[in-house]
Symmetry: C2
Subunit: 371 residues, 2 copies
């Protein structure tokens, strides 16, 4: 059992990582009276009698639970309203606690609910996917989509504790499993060259047919620590937290093409392509051999984790032209008069923030993911 | 011009009070680019060409404005959703600012919108009623009603600045004018005996047909300071802030009888009756002459400000029996196993927090407002 003490803004809370954290969750909730604990749970766990989840089922049987679909249909005002109504119906007191069990959608929704129910009630996060363990459960962001805009509504709100039990990752489907790992690859490339190398060399331990428990625990501990390092003193995203957006500005142009729902491209897959574009961008700005190494490295590591390196790598869907992608990027609401803001990697393990207003550079970056 | 430096939780912001604060608001907003400032405004000010509001009209003409009814119909998820859609349509950036111009409903709604739009954008409050200047605009609470529960949804969120221009109070209808002043009477009784005496003696200066500007400025400055004193180190209501709930536990039982909409009883009017009950409660607990003075004083001062002292003082509406009111109180969601929590006043200017579980004491307290 590893306990990481998170400090985010003025808040502090423990993040527990192991291959049996559910037991710690049970102990934690025993500290509350039974009627003060409620769960919002991915409906995937409702009638799942996989032996892996026996402890979870015993836990869930003890408390009032709201089961919601884990997909993006639960990340909106309708699901928010439904959850709020449920909490008022069952009369959860202000000093109660909401335990969110599921992936990014369940976590983001439940956290927004907790932050606004009677001006804030307790929150415990139990992420169950690579995306949520490696990325969304750490950092205090809550959010729902509105009017087709991602996280248009949300708050910053810290949980009381986060329980990460890597056994949940063993039954995740291959595609979601790797899409989440992409966020770890991203952080290693911007901030930890040794970890980037390790991820490249140890890919068989984390391969979909292997998913070695000890390697998963290691990966989640490392990613929690590195994300907290970026988030810790910058919860509201003014400085160092921006590094986490590596690959995201290019990636968002791809996501804009495919719309809010991630059937065609998962967020992590769009970020993978965004990292290729970003490596290509610094290539055309710097012309150094270092950055050319970066492009090769990025392609190699993404391929090892079944992630796309060309926009055509996702079968069965149309893909946008360079012109469309450039246009999406120019219309990004975050664009300023200086151009779009990018995180760029001068050499593996380091990063800089740079504005680019040169359309040719942007177009040639997108060209690098065209078949 | 008086500037009070508010410190609430980890935040700091100025509260400006005068008889021409609109000019300061204009200067403040000139510090932003025009497209980064938007206003959410009580529709009362939309086509009001009262000469008093000339400066306001010039200000409003400069910025994009959303006009909403000032009544409780705007304090819900529907108005919230409408305001959010409007902000996304006009593309307010995250570093923009929402100026809320109106009474408690417009302020509470706009503040909740600002606290959750893209995880938080700037907020400026321009309260225009006694209730909002004396009470709701100070302290960082935001909120909307949901499922007939008052402020079931909300956050704690500080504005960038508050501009209080007492000229707004000159055109407020008599009933709302006095209902707001009740919150100042309440704070004087719990926390400042000299101010309580002053309010009793100077009531003609604040009378509805007088509303002397200098006295209004004095009253708003005093109430801002005393509320900030209670809120400052306790933004999340664990200790001293509770004092502000004087009269509210009894008052809420009355409000519960009349329902969410305040046609029959304004919040301030219910608090007035709640103060009578609370004075009567400490009488039956303490049996001291001091607390008997309190009951006399409370009745006298409330009458001078046209506030009810008997539940039958509001004409044209049915009123509940003592039994109904006791029942509402027993079913209060804040009730604990120790009973209901009350703020009580042992002598004018001081307060204590006490749990009461004795139904007879509660019933005899309610008896004191029966005709």
């Amino acid at each position: 059992m590893t306990v990481i003490n998170a400090k985010v803004g003025s808040g502090k809370y423990p993040v527990l990582v192991s291959d049996n954290s559910i037991n710690e969750l049970i102990d934690f909730c025993d500290g509350y009276s039974q009627e003060n604990v409620v769960c919002i749970v991915d409906e995937f766990f409702k009638e799942n009698d996989n032996s892996l989840y026996n402890e979870l089922n015993i836990f869930l049987a003890k408390y009032k639970c709201l089961y919601l679909p884990g997909g993006l249909q639960s990340k909106g005002l309708e699901a928010y309203s439904l959850a709020m109504k449920w909490l008022l119906d069952i009369k959860l007191p202000r000093d109660g606690v909401i335990v969110a069990i599921g992936g990014g959608v369940i976590g983001d929704l439940s956290a927004f609910v907790a932050s606004t129910y009677m001006r804030g009630t307790g929150l415990v996060l139990v992420p169950t996917t690579t995306t949520s363990m490696i990325d969304s459960a750490i950092g205090g962001k809550t959010g729902i989509n509105f009017q087709d805009q991602v996280n248009a509504i949300g708050t910053y709100y810290n949980p009381k504790a986060v329980f990460m039990d890597v056994r949940f990752l063993l039954t995740l489907n291959t595609r979601d499993y790797f899409a989440g790992i992409c966020e770890a690859i991203k952080m290693s490339v911007t901030s930890d060259a040794a970890q980037a190398k390790k991820l490249l060399n140890n890919s068989t331990l984390l391969a979909s047919n292997n998913r070695e428990i000890a390697s998963l625990v290691d990966l989640v501990i490392w990613s929690t620590k590195i994300k907290l390092f970026h988030v810790g003193d910058d919860p509201n995203e003014k400085g160092i937290r921006l590094t986490l957006n590596y690959g995201h500005t290019f990636g968002q142009s791809i996501e804009t093409f495919y719309g809010l729902y991630q059937d065609h491209y998962r967020h992590g897959e769009a970020v993978a392509l965004g990292m290729i574009c970003a490596a290509s961008a610094i290539n055309s700005i710097n012309q150094s051999s270092l950055s050319s190494d970066l492009l090769d490295f990025t392609k190699k590591i993404l391929k090892q984790y079944n992630l796309p390196v060309l926009i055509s790598d996702q079968p069965d869907c149309l893909f946008p032209s360079v012109e469309v992608l450039v246009n999406n990027l120019i219309n990004d609401k975050k664009r300023t008069s200086q151009g779009n803001r990018f995180v760029l990697v001068p050499s593996i393990g380091t990063s800089i923030i740079q504005y680019i207003d040169n359309k040719k550079v942007i177009a040639s970056s997108f060209q690098s993911i065209m078949p």
